[in-house]
Symmetry: C2
Subunit: 452 residues, 2 copies
């Protein structure tokens, strides 16, 4: 192993960077669990048949082959070929059908796992990445409150992250479909797909697409007016009403969206906003109600989370399983920040304390101090060698460990002392009582603004 | 998706089973972090060249192919072919060499990730499984204290698990090699490999193998005597001395093993023991000092963890990286217990409290109660429908949620009450002050003894 080079599209973090990622994952997980969402993990592989079921998938699948497989295996049928999952929705649908007899519905689950796509790597696109999904799945029915709940939960999870500002944009397919139908548009699908491209190609190009799709100039103008409505409270309802379109589906969509945005509003902070954004359409997916897309200014127009309501996430011979959920791209959110040096942790190890070793004969004393600190929940390591104290302090400093503990010397002189190596303060301390500030107990996320 | 069937070798858990697995992983992780081991994760793929480097690998590798790959890719060179990792040691070696310029040595890392092997599935052998590894890696040198430390840390991690009894068996290659050399055996490797099979084939068959390898009957007898020494403290040293063999390498091995076993002894409990077991050899791996193998009576002779000291885990043009570590097979330990119903959690959701909804008009009140409980760290969900209270209680009961909270009725009568649905006790409660017993806050691991 002379030298190795990074593999494009497979991000890998240094220990302090991983500590930052782990702090984000732990925070997200804590929010999900506080709301009672249950963890599940699915196998990493699905049959190629299940992976391709969505049809026009643009996701390049990694197919598995055993290195010493029978050559006969070459012509296997899609249901016998295994591929790595490219998201956590396809596996969830299969899991629900496979285990439905043992699940309690509505099933409220979170899932934090890696996914794989054999796509050409580029900024924000990875071949291996971690997703954090929440979904609520009903059997045969699922109340609108589920849409509101996943909005609240993801809003809370995002609002707690000490990251560059994030916006969760919410819309409702019923709202836009009802609006288009109220306008006299028979087939809303081409309109949805055109509007979906608004941020990418601009209003003029979308208008041209709408005219191509058979809309009149007036209709196209109103569709664009609708798409430009964007509010962080329910006042968007009045904006829509002013456009003068009426349709029962529009009313239902307005009501659903207003309720979701209002319920999630308490999560708004300086760094997080949930907004009703009526251009969000998620045109390529089969959503039937609420739709979500999350962005951070740090990543331009690349979304960092997405989701919505499916009236039929899965189906078996007896039941239909409607679902609503949001998928947060942990890697897509963090990896660019980490690689640009914007996001890191303040230390590369969990250790809050390094216990110095005066000499090899007293290592057992140092181990005992560490044991007593750990028994009170303080992550502690013992110096790996009985070097000069200056070197032991450097060992802590290089890893960002904030405290160095000095047991009584080999000559049994003095008592225990602990030094905050950031400030240089050194005080007498009792291994059974000393407590660091809570903020020092675990690695902390550090964000630096950088010119990029 | 009419019906799906489980995929052999790819275990998947129901939510309560996953809660048990997650509690075990969290517990192990907490021990690792309390000792200051840093989390790293590596990519799931390595080049086939790196995966095959160990040579005589018995692990069947899953190779990846992009579904729409160029046909030209078929004849790719091993360094361009990607396979899923079959353990976490090969990736660690590659990670250390790739990132060495940014790592602080000794590097103390833990890694909890999935691995894949395309082996024929059978009891205790999985195609996808989770490993939890700790390793300490030095640059050019690594003190014996590292061996002692990983022994202590894994012993503590195992001793904290509320599982069937586990034994961590420790030996030292220097001890057995020194003994064989002191006996006059020139090449200890065939002896190590023969002794390694003692549990599988029995003493008589091993004796025959030793004679075949050119040992005299006396030598073979002494090798077997050594292999049968097994003590949970340093008294094994006297047992070995009584066999009357002397060699400097034996002395070194005895000292190293005695120190490791004594240092780890405080972790011994009713359900966990660390023992010096002189038949543990790990003959197929290139260990150079301490070796580990862990067992649980629940799984017969199948080991649930293994590891040891490598004097050269990795190497680049400038340095050698010695390492010592232990790998705990999370899936191998848990999946058989879970599938036999021995191991589970007491609930299928994190929720400690279900807040009932008197009627749809007061759902906001229920949501507010939930918010207040969560703000104090109590996992809480709100009933998904304003059904009769009996049905809402059944919703909690089916998921194992211990408490149901009743807000004041829709008629504003009464105050808040909370019911422990296990005992039926119902009491007045304040959403800003009520606290459940700590043991009820999270799903708890439940083990049932079963006739198997």
């Amino acid at each position: 192993m002379a030298k190795t080079t990074p593999l494009s599209g497979f991000p890998e973090f240094l220990p302090s960077q991983r500590a930052a990622e782990l702090a984000v994952i732990d925070s997200v997980r804590e929010t999900f669990e506080l709301h009672g969402f249950a963890s599940i993990e699915t196998r990493s592989v699905e049959s190629l048949e299940d992976l391709m079921r969505k049809g026009e998938t643009s996701h390049e699948v990694y197919v598995l082959r055993r290195l010493h497989a029978d050559p006969d295996d070459a012509g296997r049928e899609p249901h016998n070929v295994l591929g790595l999952h490219f998201d956590l929705t396809v596996p969830l649908a299969r899991y629900v059908v496979e285990h439905q007899g043992h699940l309690a519905f509505p099933l409220r689950r979170y899932q934090i796992q890696r996914c794989w796509r054999g796509e050409r790597p580029q900024e924000g696109r990875y071949r291996e990445f971690t997703q954090a999904d929440i979904d609520i799945i009903g059997r045969d029915e699922l109340h609108l409150d589920a849409d509101i709940e996943v909005t609240i939960v993801m809003a809370e999870a995002l609002s707690r992250l000490p990251l560059p500002p994030i916006t969760l944009r919410v819309n409702n397919r019923k709202l836009i479909e009802g609006f288009y139908r109220g306008l006299g548009v028979d087939d809303p699908v081409p309109v949805i797909r055109a509007i979906d491209k608004l941020d990418k190609i601009g209003a003029d190009a979308v208008r041209a697409d709408l005219l191509d799709a058979g809309l009149t100039a007036d209709q196209a103008g109103l569709c664009l007016d609708l798409a430009q409505i964007n509010r962080d409270d329910a006042s968007f309802v009045d904006d829509v009403r002013k456009l003068g379109i009426a349709h029962p589906l529009l009313d239902q969509g307005l009501d659903e969206l207003a309720r979701a945005v209002e319920a999630a509003a308490p999560a708004n902070t300086e760094r997080f906003a949930v907004v009703a954004d009526l251009k969000i359409a998620r045109g390529l997916d089969y959503y039937t109600g609420t739709v979500f897309e999350g962005f951070t200014a740090a990543h331009g127009s690349l979304s960092i989370c997405a989701g919505g309501r499916y009236d039929s996430l899965a189906r078996d011979s007896r039941s239909t399983y409607p679902g609503v959920g949001i998928s947060l791209g942990i890697t897509r959110l963090l990896a660019p920040l980490i690689s640009r040096g914007v996001l890191d942790a303040d230390r590369s190890v969990p250790s809050c304390v390094l216990v110095a070793v005066p000499d090899d004969a007293t290592r057992a004393v140092s181990r005992d101090v560490a044991r007593r600190l750990r028994s009170r929940g303080i992550p502690t390591e013992v110096a790996s060698s009985a070097a000069k104290y200056g070197r032991q302090i450097r060992h802590a400093d290089r890893r960002g460990i904030p405290y160095v503990w000095f047991p009584p010397g080999a000559d049994s002189s003095g008592g225990h002392q602990v030094k905050d190596i950031r400030s240089g303060d050194q005080v007498d301390a009792d291994p059974d009582a000393w407590q660091p500030p809570t903020a020092d107990l675990r690695p902390r996320i550090v964000t630096k603004e950088r010119d990029t």
